[in-house]
Symmetry: C2
């Protein structure tokens, strides 16, 4: 049986810093990111692609805000906004991957799914939301939305105004995981859990319902990788390796590292919260199931470079 | 082998006239539309769901326009906007269908695909675009965009300004049709070709590329139904039947009607262009392959009402 790999594209696979996010830029970035996966495919690995959506869902929220003020179009909640980005980003990935496969002479199909990820409504993350989303508001606007909609706001440290914060609850279930596994094992490349998945929960009556939240895309991808019994998990980002003592005279690049060792580094506070730390946690969570997690730069994937590989 | 049915939800399955399009309204409409499909499922039919996106993609275009003016966010082209609506509408359908299935005690999975539909860049529709999309502009704005981007504009007959028009080319290929057929035949409900599919074409180098166009959702659904060898095709809309001599003293409701007969009515000009006529053409195109096309009102689907059934 082929090895099964889950690859999580970071934000920079789609949008590089300094770019405005035009369609031409995004298409080119996605094309290059897809090109970097060719080596994995040539090694005979079955492939599932997950991806972030930070800048894109940020734009969608702003577009809904502007559309509401300018044209009176009802704003959609977070879950629907995430679904929109799964559509647009998933489309770009599927299209560029089809082009890459054709150019490489590889006969392989690719299929993009809209994916709901279930969270627990009682997840403690909902008690203190931390993830800033959407536009900046004046204090008065923020206050009135707090009263009207029960939203929570935080003052931007850089003084740009007030911004809504939502919870980042843990992913507990990925809908259609069984189909994802079957499609990938049959040789199809599957694009799924975009943006960490559309956040939903089960209501008391048993019905599914969207919820205002942002699920960490690396945690959601790790969970999917675990569910579908993947052999390998790749977290692709904008640095070639994980480092300890970063930016000091005894900075050290990590290549092969055990779960115990990197857990120790994590507890020492070696990794930045909101950036590398959540990737390490997702990497550890998957490696605990027996597979290996590689953290590296997207474009280095097809080269001889050894990224940071977490294993048991 | 179970019968395979393709059901195309019209705009009113998602948004009723007079509604503003809030998330609560759309969820309720979609829930009711999904409920109407239960009878087909209980009859043991395998199911593929297609859907329109008229009001939704219209809103996305306006939101992109407003987001560009207010926040400087790059506007995305039509293909990406259609992809966004496949994500949001597909999500709503999958979620509400899951809730309906649970309530009805039916064990069935549902899976939503992002779907590209290939058109011919030399389709004659590109010579004279007719489909109005996006916001109204002043004559000066329209003129400058015509010069800069090569877009085409038409003056609104009701005097609301100038509006961009895009082509509505014929669908010639549905990507992933083989997977759609396999998934549906295995008992999964599949949501696909939303909004007529994301319009793409093959460039001279063989690579796929998005294109500014709107594909008629009934034609795209009919094409898919033909490709996957469906037995039945349902076009769900907001009238219980197709009528001839509509709104005259000898108005007549059509129930069972042959391809020859309805083609004759079509040629007589019995059906409104831009409304019922394209549905009839899509219905005829599918029925020519040997199946039957039913045109009726969404909520009448589960009842004893006989819609208009086109057959050979």
């Amino acid at each position: 049986m082929n090895k099964l790999a889950v690859v999580a594209f970071g934000g920079n696979a789609l949008l590089r810093s300094g770019q405005k996010g035009t369609i031409d830029e995004q298409e080119r970035n996605v094309y290059e990111s897809c090109k970097a996966l060719v080596n994995l495919i040539r090694q005979g690995k079955d492939l599932v692609i997950a991806h972030g959506n930070g800048p894109q869902v940020g734009n969608v929220l702003l577009q809904h805000e502007a559309g509401s003020k300018t044209f009176g179009i009802p704003k959609m909640p977070m879950d629907v906004c995430v679904a929109e980005t799964q559509g647009s980003i998933g489309y770009l990935i599927e299209q560029q991957m089809r082009n890459v496969l054709r150019e490489e002479g590889i006969e392989k199909n690719i299929i993009t799914l809209i994916t709901q990820v279930v969270v627990d409504k009682n997840d403690e993350a909902f008690l203190k939301p931390t993830k800033p989303v959407g536009p900046y508001y004046s204090e008065a606007e923020a206050y009135s939305m707090e009263q009207e909609r029960g939203w929570q706001f935080k003052k931007d440290p850089a003084g740009r105004g007030w911004r809504r914060v939502v919870a980042s609850p843990k992913p507990i279930e990925v809908l259609n995981k069984i189909i994802v596994e079957a499609l990938a094992r049959a040789g199809n490349i599957v694009v799924t859990v975009g943006g960490g998945g559309i956040p939903v929960y089960f209501q008391e009556n048993g019905n599914l319902m969207g919820i205002d939240a942002v699920i960490d895309k690396d945690l959601a991808s790790a969970k999917l990788a675990e569910f579908i019994k993947a052999d390998e998990f790749y977290i692709l980002t904008d640095v070639p390796n994980v480092f300890i003592n970063f930016n000091t005279h005894n900075q050290e690049k990590l290549e092969h590292v055990t779960i115990d060792k990197i857990t120790q580094y994590l507890e020492e506070g070696q990794f930045t919260e909101g950036s590398m730390a959540p990737k390490i946690r997702a990497g550890i969570a998957f490696a605990r199931q027996g597979g290996s997690t590689t953290i590296t730069e997207t474009t280095l994937l097809g080269t001889n470079h050894i990224g940071t590989i977490i294993h048991q």
